[in-house]
Symmetry: C2
Subunit: 568 residues, 2 copies
Amino acid sequence: MLSDIEISRQSPRRPIGEVAQSLGLTSQEYHTLGDAKAKVQLNVLPRLANKPSGKFIVVTAINPTPYGEGKTVTSIGLTQALHALNKKVCVCLRQPSMGPVFGVKGGAAGGGYAQVVPMEELNLHLTGDIHAVSSAHNLAAAALDARLHHETRLGAEEFQRQSGLSPLHIDPERLLWPRVTDHNDRALRQIEVGLGRNNGPQHSASFAITAASELMAVLALSCDLKDMRQRIGRLLLAYDKSGAPITAEMLGVAGAMTAVMRQAIEPTLMQTLNGAPCLIHAGPFANIAHGNSSIIADEVALKLADYVVTEGGFGSDMGFEKFCNIKVRASGHQPDCAVLVVTLKALKSHAEVHQQDINAADLTALQQGFANLAWHLANIRRYGVPVVVAINRFPQDCEQELAWLQQAAITAGASDCVVSEAFAKGAAGATALAEAVLTALQQPAQFHYLYDPDAGLEQSLATLTELGYGAAGFSLSAKAQQQLQEIKQLGAGSLPVCMAKTPMSISHDAKLKGVPRGFTVPINELKLNAGAGFVTALAGNVMTMPGLGLNPGYLHIDVDDDGNICGL
Amino acid sequence: MLSDIEISRQSPRRPIGEVAQSLGLTSQEYHTLGDAKAKVQLNVLPRLANKPSGKFIVVTAINPTPYGEGKTVTSIGLTQALHALNKKVCVCLRQPSMGPVFGVKGGAAGGGYAQVVPMEELNLHLTGDIHAVSSAHNLAAAALDARLHHETRLGAEEFQRQSGLSPLHIDPERLLWPRVTDHNDRALRQIEVGLGRNNGPQHSASFAITAASELMAVLALSCDLKDMRQRIGRLLLAYDKSGAPITAEMLGVAGAMTAVMRQAIEPTLMQTLNGAPCLIHAGPFANIAHGNSSIIADEVALKLADYVVTEGGFGSDMGFEKFCNIKVRASGHQPDCAVLVVTLKALKSHAEVHQQDINAADLTALQQGFANLAWHLANIRRYGVPVVVAINRFPQDCEQELAWLQQAAITAGASDCVVSEAFAKGAAGATALAEAVLTALQQPAQFHYLYDPDAGLEQSLATLTELGYGAAGFSLSAKAQQQLQEIKQLGAGSLPVCMAKTPMSISHDAKLKGVPRGFTVPINELKLNAGAGFVTALAGNVMTMPGLGLNPGYLHIDVDDDGNICGL
């Protein structure tokens, strides 16, 4: 089989303008960037406002394992199959971060014969949206430090006299806004800045990867430009010496940040290997943020296509939960069907089968690991959404195990369970999945939220941990209790919760495989994301800056004499 | 008069494809990015290789003053005037950094009725080239720190066993590669990284603004993709514990860096207010780097147009000198004519007239300040290049002074001296300038370099300081002497010199106005830029990271309800 990049490069592509027109965009509603990418213009939104929406299909998974379950491959494969069945379909995906591309993962454009093309465009700069987020984010950090510098250097009174601005009295001990970069850069996790003469005040600081920027979540959750401008204005950057919040609006930097993101708010149109439209937009983390692509891209897709496929990060306890409780609340677009991706390997991994035995037939282990799948099935159905289970097939998979799994999933409540071979066969490999989804969509979903944020943060946390995870409950550290009081005082006690926990277990503890019970989720910290509009609850250490490993991906990447990028 | 952004927005624009075709690009040789920008494809280079070159006009200035002399306005105005005279002309400019846009300067797209449009595109992301340079640069920094981390953590032997890579034995005391960001961020000038558990080793580090990245100079000086790949491979990142150099090639990151810059190597086509083609490409500093736009853009422009206008940073002692001694050596494209920009205000400033009196008529001060202009005239003529002096006129300028200056400049050796009103009147305001340039071009230039790098660095420094600045000579600090020996040992002793000194004086000392004599240029440091292909000689402190001031530009920038960026 050819490599991903060879398949991507050899595939014929439709001119992107043709893809745009086929989706229903008029020539005033997009502009092309070369022949492979287009930016959708926001003037399309008012025209679509009163159109009915297509069906919304959310792809999710069991708890991820180191083997990779193939959620993106399945999302793209399903889209390709629906397109091949002459359905009007569009897939909405997050833009990959360059950090993992040069780190380990090698890319996030799908794989095999289920890809968004050209993959080297998707995996590198694309249309610069992530750069725009980094730049706007770091402008706020530079502005905050500069203001602190000048007010400290001159004193409040003299600062006011010379600048004509009211002093902000920033508390140097309570700076909340890190800097970001779209690289895996371990050395920047914890740093000290403002050293040397006239560069201070010195203070500790940190860099996160751009996907972890609250601005990335803002981009994904904004309904239009005005909404984004207002959310940016609300970003909480620091506290002043009296404990009052300092926002981007108060610092006077929110307008410039919005200007930097003026083009990033426009979704990027690309295509799948068989020419189905794909909207790429935003890429927030699925732990400290909500892990879904943008509301604006969904809106455009849902009003123009009859079927829209999207995916949430990690398993249904994370990306799907946040899709429902955070994104649907902001967008109003409820899911009509879920696709739950699973592999035989992943289920055996949940039964603690070791790596050397993971490809061997082992029905007992499969049956034991099935509990994790059954939990995710029930979890999704708790939201009133029908579920089709997609088994992402690997060449060595045992037919008998596949057959058992299909039957077991249906018995456990799946609308259907089908084998997907999208990686190896593209659209043809996902036809059965597409047909199962079309059948499932005939029963209308009865969507409802898991919790009501108006009941307050503690109640939301209780419902999320107990009903959402099957925990005994949650505990708040002293720090988190203090933060809870502050958040309430700021009038933000009714925002939805965004749980930052390990994705490897339903619980907060990566070591608890299968379906853990009786655990208590320890919340160490609560962080108000006033711009994004949620409160992140940190259960354990969540790494917001990955590091490069021993054999990083960049070693293999180069440009050949014809100017082609190779090794992705 | 309207503001710059109003003029930019109200001006009718040609579709960029039409501009590309009028320049002589075939539809296979560019791709459009919306209707205002296009990327020139590198496949154009072989087709043009044997075509004759057009005339090359370099715009330079006297030593800059805080008032702004209007070099970019003059470059664009001259281009507009030549275009209006039906000459086939193209202007090649550097891409502005966002740091100054949000800091003080507000933009670098020209101004008034001499602009590259749309100015908000030029001043913000444009086509992402600066982001690509930042990203490729920081990938190398992350890779270097990660390698140091893993080799330190495991020890050389175990590192080799686990990774299969040969250890580099990086000396943590001799890391040479900073990180960069395209913002004015004072707090990042001097930092400590690698703090906290498992993030080390801890060491001091710094951020520069992206324009100061050696990669930016590499982008500007590369003749094609292969050349850029090789230059990136030669970048010197650190020394090992035995004192041997560690390059990007040795770290295995040069290919990935090139992949990140794959699109950045393509010049961006825009247009002036009256529809003349403009190639925007690269933006290296004019102090620690050579301060000129790219060789690739020049090559495309010179082979397609009959007249190419470009500008070098700062005064003729800096950008023009480096244009001749660094860029021409790499490109082979010699200048045919120089335009020397001056204002009455600037000359009076060189006569030490204070700000409150700067607009008043004062022929005595003008005559005294004229010495600076006369020096730059002679400096340019030393290279065998004819000079047209352009007086960038301000409304309050005194007719008598203008007349005196015109006569004095011609007497001092200018081919002509004309008043330019490009800012207020666009092409019509620069017709006299265009005609003077066309006349000057009728006498063929007798270009020659100032010094021969093959004579060795010390001789180059002697000639540059004595002949180039009129200094008594130069001195090397103990550190610089040590560095000189290292550079020679690395076989780089015959590279051209890139002087990093104040632009405000012909000398190294900003306080020495007019035409200083008898000074000795103190070289504190020599820095090998093995990728860019020059040795930077630091005469005094050169700031590579600006800071935001008391009333930064970002305060005024916003996005209106129609999505228009305002306040630039």
